[in-house]
């Protein structure tokens, strides 16, 4: 092995990134490029898969240039991707038949309600660990195949392929049509026990097996990247949140992390058996390293956290950049009595209410833009509180501290408030880019760059810690108001919407 570096591609909701790491798991270089968020109508969210593919190749070359290294110095590439986002393409032309339908998209709401009409939202939960919700890929594929004549037929013949973003990238880079177990576990088409596509689910959603990728472990050499990336082995694929769990070295049952990005995702490693949640969390696959048994996880998915700051920046225009939200929020001492429930895609964990939409409650003439900025940040903390409570109830153990990562950990006001409302310390690791680190680790394990997961634990170091300072009465009062605001977001969507 001549190379000294591993590259990770983090193909996220807002942007694509490439990070290059060395043997100690330290960042050598990074390159990032945002892609367009397409909103054809309210509630619909799409990406251009070709733009994403171009950007991915561009950022890999960008990171190499910045780091002063070449493709030959790379031992392998690992991919972490935004989950559930659905692409359907023609393998003969390589062209997608439609834009990628993003995980936040809610067009499949009536389909989900229809499928849940008789047996309820949890109709398929014991098979796939997921409630019927617009979030997951299965309903999106179904919608797509019905969206134009002839598509379903072509899919049945294998003339159309389905994939989440990992499959789309790996197919373009290596020609192989594969997906990893963690990504497959977000489709609502895979059986959690067998780790194979489930005929009952395929039938319910009307998705032909012929169009599906082969389910593979998360850490394994899938193939070599073609000309665009000079033959480098593609040796891992993981859903981004599972990659972060891995990057935070949560290798054992009981270890958890929360990633703060566009959305926020609390994941708890539950070991080698799937655990069904009684409190509104998802059961998902954590990772599968080569031939070892898969590990499972419980997940509290929060759809809108960083996305709310971006909306505040791009659509409302009261801040010029995302970090400015902290500056604006600090011009006031508290939220001025308002609570912002950003149910832009309905409410995800722990409520799973597709009928909810966003609400700002408690408005009076006293409220200023500073209070709005404050409420935007506090929304992330209160939503975390809800999923932490659910996680504690499911696991039977109270979390003693929260390992946080992701871009929003740069926001000190948010991190302190988070510690305050959770009542436990919040800790950030050195290397906030745990999504990329996890993909790099998984790829490195597949090619022998690192010997085993225990050797990776040595790389985890605490970079910051926020300790709770709020008194119990204030915390309880705030939570009470938050829950009232959540109630006001429900029952919004009508059949004729």
């Amino acid at each position: 092995m001549n190379g000294e570096y591993i590259a990770a591609i983090d193909q996220g909701t807002s942007s694509s990134r490439c990070l290059v790491f060395d043997l100690q798991g330290r960042i050598v270089s990074l390159s990032q490029k945002e892609h367009e968020q397409i909103f054809p109508r309210p509630g619909w969210v799409e990406h251009d898969p070709r733009e994403i593919l171009r950007n991915v190749i561009e950022v890999v070359h960008g990171a190499l240039d910045t780091g002063g290294i070449t493709l030959r110095d790379l031992v392998a590439v690992g991919i972490a991707n935004q989950r559930e986002t659905t692409v359907v393409w023609d393998p003969h032309t390589g062209e997608p038949v439609y834009n990628a339908i993003v995980w936040q998209d809610t067009r499949t709401d009536s389909l989900c309600r229809k499928l849940g009409a008789e047996h309820g939202q949890d109709r398929f939960r014991d098979r796939c660990g997921l409630p019927l919700a617009t979030y997951f890929s299965g309903p999106k594929v179904s919608w797509l195949l019905d969206s134009a004549p002839g598509l379903r037929h072509r899919a049945e013949q294998g003339d159309l392929l389905f994939g989440t973003m990992d499959s789309w990238l790996v197919w373009n880079l290596t020609g192989r049509h594969v997906t990893d177990v963690t990504n497959a576990s977000r489709t609502m088409l895979m059986n959690l026990e067998t780790l194979d596509w489930d005929d009952v689910l395929l039938d319910a959603f009307g998705v032909p097996r012929a169009m599906l990728p082969e389910i593979q472990p998360s850490s394994k050499i899938y193939g070599e990247a073609g000309d665009s990336l000079g033959g480098v082995p593609i040796a891992a694929a993981l859903g981004d949140q599972q990659a972060a769990l891995f990057g935070q070295t949560c290798f054992s049952a009981g270890e958890a992390k929360c990633t703060y990005g566009t959305g926020s995702f609390l994941l708890l490693n539950t070991g080698s058996r799937p655990v069904l949640s009684g409190h509104g969390l998802l059961t998902t696959v954590g990772s599968k390293i080569g031939d070892e048994p898969a590990t499972y996880a419980l997940e509290g998915s929060i759809a809108v956290t960083g996305a709310l700051v971006q909306w505040f920046r791009d659509k409302v225009g009261l801040i010029g950049s995302a970090p400015e939200v902290e500056t604006l929020a600090r011009t006031v001492d508290d939220n001025g009595g308002i609570y912002f429930v950003p149910a832009f895609s309905g409410l995800f964990a722990p409520h799973w209410r597709g009928d909810a939409r966003g609400v700002i409650a408690g408005l009076t003439g006293y409220v200023t833009k500073g209070h709005l900025a404050r409420a935007v940040l506090e929304a992330t903390a209160w939503q975390t509180r809800e999923v932490v409570d659910a996680m504690n109830a499911d696991s039977g153990i109270a979390m003693s501290s929260l390992k946080a990562d992701g871009g929003m950990t740069a926001n000190n006001l948010l991190m302190q408030f988070l510690a305050d409302v959770l009542g436990v310390p919040v800790v950030r690791p050195n290397v906030a880019e745990t999504v990329s680190l996890g993909a790099a680790y998984a790829a490195g394990l597949a090619v022998g760059f690192w010997p085993d997961v225990e050797s990776l634990r040595a790389n985890w170091h605490k970079a910051a810690e926020w300790v709770p300072k709020m008194d119990q009465a204030e915390r309880d009062r705030g939570y009470r108001k938050w829950k009232k605001a959540v109630q006001r977001s429900l029952d919004w969507v009508d059949d004729d919407d």
């Binding site: 100690q24 330290r26 960042i27 990074l30 950049s321 995302a322 970090p323 400015e324 902290e326 500056t327 871009g407 950990t409 740069a410 926001n411 000190n412 050195n430 290397v431 906030a432 880019e433 170091h461 605490k462 970079a463 910051a464 810690e465 926020w466």
Partner: protein
């Protein structure tokens, strides 16, 4: 093209004059330099004062460039913005140097700590973000002073506050050291704030090349120095970190 507005031309001349001087100027001095009647200059100065482009010292009555103008220009960067952009590289520096990292900006004659990364040894540490540190006794402060000469004026001619036996208290000695900081592109505080602790800092520059902040590593003198001199390897890591962050801010690579 419409005729230029005379009062704006005159206001620009006043601002250019003030920006070129490190010491404050009186109304008479400004009027004299520009060859304008005192009354005319006075009227423009009042307006510039009200919009914050000019500041007046309450004791001497003399004028200088105002903070609002500096913030408009290149030498101010919101601390939250800086922290967000520098996050990954501050982490990188902490891992590389194996010491704690701090980022500071100018604030009211002090260094405001806008970011703090723990030393990556999992030892108990407390987050110090928000702290205000003295400019003359810290490496970050010296870097910021070196690249903002008008600030040195504010330190005055009297003795500077002493923190340890090593603190530089004579402004003249400080000025000599700042000259060296400018020349070498980095600064050190050798036990000048806290006994036993040394820090090394380099400037973070923006697109216009102005020093908008400083990044530093800090730790026990015995780890950061060899024979009372900062270790070259560590100085180069700090400078590399500063350069990388500057590059991300759009600074011309150097």
């Amino acid at each position: 093209m419409p005729k230029p507005i005379q009062s704006i031309e005159r206001a620009s001349a006043i601002l250019r004059l003030l920006s070129g001087r490190t010491r404050r100027l009186s109304l008479a001095e400004v009027a004299g330099e520009l060859g304008l009647p005192k009354g005319t200059v006075y009227g423009i100065m009042r307006t510039l004062l009200s919009v914050g482009f000019v500041e007046q010292d309450p004791e001497s009555g003399k004028y200088r460039m105002g903070a609002a103008l500096l913030h408009l220009g290149s030498s101010y960067l919101d601390g939250n913005e800086l922290r967000t952009r520098a996050l990954n590289w501050a982490d990188w520096l902490a891992a590389r140097a194996n010491e704690s990292v701090r980022l500071g900006t100018l604030h009211d004659g002090h260094v405001l700590l806008v970011h703090h990364v723990f030393r990556p040894d999992n030892s108990p540490q407390v987050l110090e973000v928000g702290a205000l540190l003295p400019m003359h006794a810290t490496a970050m402060g010296k870097v910021l002073l070196a690249y903002h000469p008008y600030l040195t004026e504010e330190l005055g001619t009297g003795s500077l506050q002493r923190f340890t036996t090593c603190t530089i208290t004579d402004p003249k000695l400080l000025a000599i050291e700042l000259e060296q900081v400018r020349e070498q592109g980095w600064a050190a505080s050798l036990e000048e704030l806290i006994e036993g602790e040394t820090s090394l800092a380099a400037p973070i520059r923006d697109r216009q090349g102005a020093a908008v902040g400083a990044i530093a590593i800090s730790g026990p003198t015995e780890r950061l120095c060899d024979d009372a001199q900062p270790r070259n390897e560590l100085v180069s890591y700090v400078r590399e970190g500063a350069r990388t962050i500057s590059r991300d801010l759009g600074a011309v690579p150097w």
